[in-house]
């Protein structure tokens, strides 16, 4: 699996793609593989405020439940409602159509603290 260059990554296995001041957030391919078959996704509502490093929701697979830690701070502007009916999309396209939420970022400098694709690749290579 190659990790897209245009995403920034956390050590907790989330990613964010910045376009202007809006960041799209998801979980990584490594995360979905670790979780296995995903059955539930719990996400915040539009308008909710999230903070970098804090839980913004959870993903639950057949065998475990796991928090999603926000890579950036800001306000939720859009939620991927399609995951409610089809959480398995997270196993199939975690870096694409199975994004979780879009957030209006309040501290754009937070992006600099996140890992590049190459660094994340090295990190998950070392972790496993």
């Amino acid at each position: 699996m190659s990790y897209p260059e245009n995403l920034r990554y956390t050590k907790e296995h989330e990613w964010v793609r910045a376009e202007g001041d809006v960041g799209t957030i998801g979980i990584t391919d490594h995360a979905q593989k670790e979780l296995g078959d995903i059955v539930y996704v719990d996400l915040p509502k539009v308008g909710a405020r999230i903070e970098q490093g804090k839980s913004l929701g959870s993903v639950e697979s057949v065998k475990a439940v796991s928090d999603i830690y926000s890579p950036v701070s800001g306000e939720i502007v859009e939620v991927n409602e399609s995951l409610g009916q089809a959480p398995e999309k997270l196993n199939q396209d975690p870096h694409g159509s199975a994004w979780l939420v879009k957030v209006r970022m309040s501290v754009p400098d937070e992006l600099k603290q996140l890992l590049s694709a190459a660094d994340y690749q090295t990190y998950v290579g070392a972790e496993s």
Binding site: G36, D37, V39, Y40, S58, E60, S61, V62, K63, V65
Partner: protein, 369 residues
């Protein structure tokens, strides 16, 4: 994370790693939790056939003229009623009636019993049995002599029969035969932990990788899948089979765990008998019961269970049930409330989610002729 103690490995460890299985620490053993997808592996076992490495399980042999007396003294079920070639599920208890372990007892000969025990309990079980040996019997810790491969599913028989001259159809459920598989000595038991038909095959560790590969080849046109402990757990939970450390442990008795059928109080003295007799007379205060989630959420191991808003018990195992498309679980409740049809709430991450107690097993395979 730093490992202070090296994880133990089965003879099939290198095979799992080379096949890309996801490995996890399971009670000190580095075991495959899944190969491809837990759900796909689960369905392969329900609809076709799946292959499990269960070599981490322990083996203890009890031999000698009074072997049956020792086995009967340390277990709840009646070993003396077994025929040669027959196996039984049984409990190894403390004097106070709680579980040391749940085990399978196989009668190999009048003076030879073969016990299959849980991986994490094997040393403890061995010490427990040896300490209770006031008979003319020898107790041998023989885990190192066996690898164990479970072949489970409706097409398990047709898979294994390609590798053995043993007439598998003549082995009844919970019976076993010694013979050859892939040309080497094996014990073939018609037992399992999935709720499906199938076999558990005990072989010498050095032979396990070759037999594993030959079984995969033999089952290829049936769609055989290597399966991990993840699928093993969802399969056994649907069939309501107990897991040590969850449904049963040192503070739980067979009556509480709804396993009264494995207790034979009339067989004579055994460790735990007086505590169980007393409990049978007075009744249990808590009992294991199945539940299904009604609200959105999964009740998992350790979650609190409430009755009418008040804490009343705990979940021992819970998971989505891939064969049922429901979220199921087992929990302990006050005995008077542990009946099907009772509305309960499970505390899922600080939220009370509605659930209902139900009849078990959740899944039962269709009987074939």
């Amino acid at each position: 994370m730093a490992q202070s103690v090296a994880l133990k490995r089965t003879p099939l460890h290198a095979v799992h790693v080379s096949m890309g299985a996801k490995m996890v620490d399971f009670g000190g053993w580095d075991m495959p939790v899944q190969y491809s997808s837990l759900v796909e592996e689960h369905h392969a076992v329900r609809k076709a056939v799946g292959l499990f490495d269960v070599s981490h399980m322990g083996e203890i042999e009890v031999c000698g003229p009074e072997a049956v007396r020792l086995v009967d003294y340390v277990t709840t079920n009646a070993a003396s009623r077994l025929h040669i070639g027959q196996a039984q599920y049984s409990g190894l208890l403390y004097e106070h009636g709680g579980f040391v372990d749940d085990i399978l007892v196989h009668k190999v000969a009048d003076d030879h019993f073969f016990l299959c025990v849980n991986a994490a309990n094997q040393e403890k079980d061995f010490e427990h049995i040896r300490a209770a040996n006031k008979f003319d019997a020898q107790v041998e810790f023989s885990s190192g002599r066996y690898a164990q491969i479970a072949v489970q599913g409706p097409l398990a028989l047709r898979t294994v029969e390609r590798l053995t001259p043993v007439e598998l159809g003549s082995i009844g459920y919970y019976w076993f035969k010694d013979g050859t598989v892939s040309g080497v000595q094996a014990r073939i038991a018609r037992t399992g932990y999935t709720g499906e038909d199938g076999f558990e095959i005990y072989v010498a560790p050095a032979e396990a990788p070759r037999i594993w590969n030959e079984l995969l080849e033999a089952g290829r046109d049936f769609g055989i899948k290597p399966c991990g402990l993840g699928a093993r757990n969802t399969l056994r939970l649907e069939a309501k089979m107990a897991l040590y450390g969850h449904e049963i442990h040192a503070s739980i008795t067979p009556y509480e765990a709804d396993l009264g059928w494995m207790v034979k109080l009339d067989k004579g003295e055994f460790i735990g008998r007086s505590a169980l007799a007393k409990q049978k007379e007075h009744g249990v205060s808590r009992k294991l019961v199945g539940f299904e989630m009604r609200g959105r959420g999964i009740g998992r191991d350790g979650y609190e269970v409430r009755l009418d808003g008040l804490a009343a018990g705990w979940v021992t195992s819970g998971s989505p049930a891939p064969s049922l498309n429901r979220n199921i679980g087992l929990c302990y409740l006050p005995a008077g409330e542990a009946r099907p049809g009772r509305a309960i709430q499970v505390m899922v991450r600080n939220q009370a989610v509605d659930a209902e107690t139900v009849n078990t097993p959740f899944y039962k395979r269709a009987k074939t002729a």
